[in-house]
Symmetry: C2
Subunit: 138 residues, 2 copies
């Protein structure tokens, strides 16, 4: 995997009351707060069509993750056997992308309030996609 | 969004009978085939724990996408109004990440057969994650 790289640019950043990894739940539905996504003005046109109440997949870049970790104890539970990171949702993984299913709470200019979301304050967002199905929990 | 970039490395590549974008359905469940994912040996340990029959989210880098496109007609239907790409699943978007919900069909060494998946032959894969809920369709 060393010869080829792709360049990922943030489309915005999350502003959250969660200030560090220790304070963040493992998943949004485990008590996470809402957060504001500040969409960069350069790409803000791309959010036209997103409405309050819509369900989105937010893709983050988990900038504090460890990228050289290939095995982990799921949910940091040392009693669970070491498992390959691709079989877990650990933030520590070669490309630390986070997937967060959220609801759009409010829109104010280039800011979109979404939640619940377990990512910490300052987390870069790299993509937004609509949820395709009402049954979805991905 | 121009000052900061993150570097994304493929963890493997898809080997699919779909050879070009024109041949690919819009979504996997719209008649897409299975494909082999060749996991790079450097990160292959990360797939331990993935079992045949499991449901995964495959995150791809849609390497043929147009990254400067911010609005599109959903599903290439010119009768539908131009919509911001973040409100669509268009592959053309600033960071052309693809999300694909698949089932693991077979595992052979560092190769994992998954499907159905609409990504074309040679598409880089950047992450794999387990589906968290049986109800999922993201």
């Amino acid at each position: 995997m060393h010869e080829t790289y792709y360049s990922l640019a943030p489309i915005g950043y999350l502003r959250s009351p969660l200030k560090d990894r220790g304070a963040a739940p493992n998943q949004g539905r485990e008590g996470a707060p809402d957060a504001w996504l500040d969409v960069d003005a350069v790409v803000a046109e791309g959010r036209e069509g997103i409405e309050v109440g819509a369900e989105l997949i937010v893709i983050t870049w988990l900038h504090q993750a460890g990228r050289d970790i290939l095995k982990t104890h799921p949910r940091n539970d040392q009693t669970r056997p070491l498992t390959g990171v691709f079989a877990t949702r650990s933030p520590d993984r070669p490309n630390p992308l986070g997937l967060h299913r959220v609801t759009v709470r409010e829109i104010a200019g280039n800011r979109v309030k979404v939640g619940p979301i377990e990512a910490i304050d300052g987390t870069p967002v790299v993509d937004l996609k609509p949820v395709l199905s009402a049954s979805a929990d991905f």
